[in-house]
C-alpha cells in the first residue's frame, strides 16, 4: 500500500518524486518483459510444438533483433525490423485509403444542402466548407493558391480548427478531472477504511504541507540534476 502515499507527494518534492518515478519506470520495464515472454511463448512456442516448424524462423529473427546492441553486427537487426515495418506499412496503407480517405470524402459528399430544413442545410453547408478549407489549408507546395484574396481561405480554416481545438481542450480537462477523481475516490473509499490509514494520513498531510512552504524555491518537480 506504499503506493498511496506516493500519490500525495507525486506532484511535489524531489526525493519522493524521484523514488516514485524510478519505481514506475522499473515496474513498467519489468511488466514489458513479462508480457514479452508470455507472448513469445503463447503465440510462438505453442504453435511450434504443435508442428508449425516455420515458426523457428520467427524465433531466430526475434533473437537477431538484439544484435542492435552489438557494435559490429547491429545491421543484422535490420532484417527482423524490416519484416515488422513491412507488415505495419502493408496493414496501414491498405486500410488507410479506404477508412480515412475515401470513406471521409464519401461521407462529406453525401451531405444534403437542399431539400432539408434551413438549419440542417446551413450546418451541412458549413461542414462542407470547413472540410474543404481545411484540406485547402494543408496544400503547401502551390504558393499561388494562397496568394492575395485566396489567403482568406486558410484564415478561415485556421478559425475552424481553433474552434475544434477549443472543444478538444475542454474535453481534455474533463479527462484529467476524471482521473484525479479516480485517485481521490480510491483513496477515500478503499484506502482510508484500512487499518493504519488514519495514522498515515496526518503524516502524509504534514509532509505535503511541508513541501508547500518553500514553494517559490521548490517548483514541481524539483529540477533533477541533468546527468
Amino acid at each position: 500500500m506504499f503506493s498511496l502515499w506516493i500519490f500525495s507527494i507525486a506532484f511535489r518534492d524531489n526525493v519522493f518524486f524521484k523514488f516514485a518515478e524510478h519505481t514506475f519506470v522499473g515496474a513498467a520495464a519489468g511488466h514489458n518483459i513479462v508480457y514479452g515472454v508470455d507472448n513469445v511463448l503463447r503465440y510462438g512456442w505453442t504453435p511450434f510444438t504443435k508442428g508449425a516448424l516455420l515458426y523457428v524462423v520467427a524465433f531466430l529473427l526475434g533473437i537477431v533483433l538484439y544484435t542492435r546492441y552489438h557494435k559490429k553486427y547491429f545491421w543484422m537487426s535490420r532484417f527482423p525490423l524490416s519484416v515488422m515495418v513491412g507488415i505495419g506499412i502493408g496493414l496501414s496503407m491498405r486500410a488507410t485509403v479506404t477508412a480515412e480517405f475515401i470513406a471521409q470524402i464519401q461521407s462529406t459528399a453525401a451531405l444534403k444542402i437542399l431539400g432539408v430544413d434551413a438549419w440542417t442545410g446551413f450546418s451541412n453547408l458549413l461542414f462542407i466548407i470547413i472540410v474543404l478549407t481545411v484540406v485547402y489549408f494543408f496544400i503547401f507546395t502551390f504558393p499561388s493558391v494562397h496568394k492575395g484574396n485566396l489567403g482568406i481561405i486558410s484564415k478561415f480554416a485556421r478559425y475552424a480548427m481553433m474552434a475544434s481545438f477549443g472543444y478538444s481542450f475542454a474535453n481534455a480537462l474533463l479527462s484529467r478531472f476524471n482521473m484525479i477523481f479516480g485517485r481521490v475516490d480510491f483513496l477515500y473509499t478503499s484506502w482510508l477504511p484500512l487499518p493504519g490509514a488514519m495514522v498515515a494520513l496526518p503524516i502524509v498531510l504534514i509532509l505535503l504541507a511541508y513541501a508547500m512552504i518553500p514553494a517559490q524555491k521548490r517548483p514541481w518537480p524539483k529540477p533533477s540534476k541533468p546527468s
Binding site: R42, N178, M179, I180, G182
Partner: protein
Amino acid sequence: MSKQGKGLWRRLEEVPREVLYLLIFLAIIVPTVSPIGLAVPISDEAKAWYNTVDKLPAGTAVFVDFGYSGGGEPELGPMAVATYHHMLRKKLKVIAMSTSLEGPLLFERAMAEVGPEKYGAKYGVDYVHIGYIAGTETAMAAVGKDLRATTTTDYKKVSLDQYPIMAGIKDASSFQLLICFTTGGDQSEGWVRQWVTPYKTPYIANVLALMIPTMLPYRKAGQLLSLTAGAQAGEVELLIKVPGRGIKSADVISVCHLLMVAFVILGNIAYYGRKASGG
C-alpha cells in the same frame, strides 16, 4: 491609483500556482467526501451505446478490446464495468482481448467489480479473455483473419478448446459487435482500419474525452455506431440501472468545471484589468 491598480491586477494575474492547485484539490475532495447528488442528463451518444448493446439477442458473440492502460483506468474502467453488467445480464457471449499491455490485469480488476456470478455468468462459458496480443494493428488484423490460428489459449494459458464459449468462433465474421475501451489512438483508429473496413463489423468505442474530437469523423461517416468518453459511464449506469463509480464522479466533475469557468473569467478580467490600467 494607477500604480496601485496595476499591481493589484498583476497580482491577480500571477496568482501563485499553489493557490490554483489547492482550489482544484478542494473542488475534488469536498464532493468526494460529501456527495451532493447533482442531476445528470443522458446524452444521445450514451443512448446509442445502450441501444447498440441492448438490441443484440441473447447468445450473440461480442468482441471486446480491453485496450486501456492503468493511467486511464479511473476514466475508462467505470464504463467497461457498466457495459459488462449490461452484456452479462443480456446473456451475450463476451470474448475479450487486450491490445494494451496492462489489459489482462485491468480485466481482472473490472471483473472483480462486476461480479459476473450475479448474472449466473461463468468464465469460459459466458465470457473469456484471450490475453494481451502484441503488435496493435498487426494483432487486430491477425485476430480478425483467424482468431484460432493466432492464439490457442486464454490469458491463463488454458486451451481455448476447453471453453464452450469458443465453439463456432473463428474470425471477425463470428462477431456481431466490436467494443473497444482504450486510452490509445492507435487502438481506437486501428479497429476501424483492421475490422470495420474489411469485415464491416459494427463497432462502438469508449475513449478518453480528449480523444473524442479526433475520432468524430469516423463516427459521422458511420464507421462507429457510438463514441463515448469515460465520463459518460454515469449515464450508461443510469440506463442499465446499476449505479457505480461513474455516477459518483458526476458531482466532482460539475464542481470542477464550475471552478474552471470561474478561472477563465477571472483570468480574463485580470488580463484586461492590467491592460486597461496600462500594464
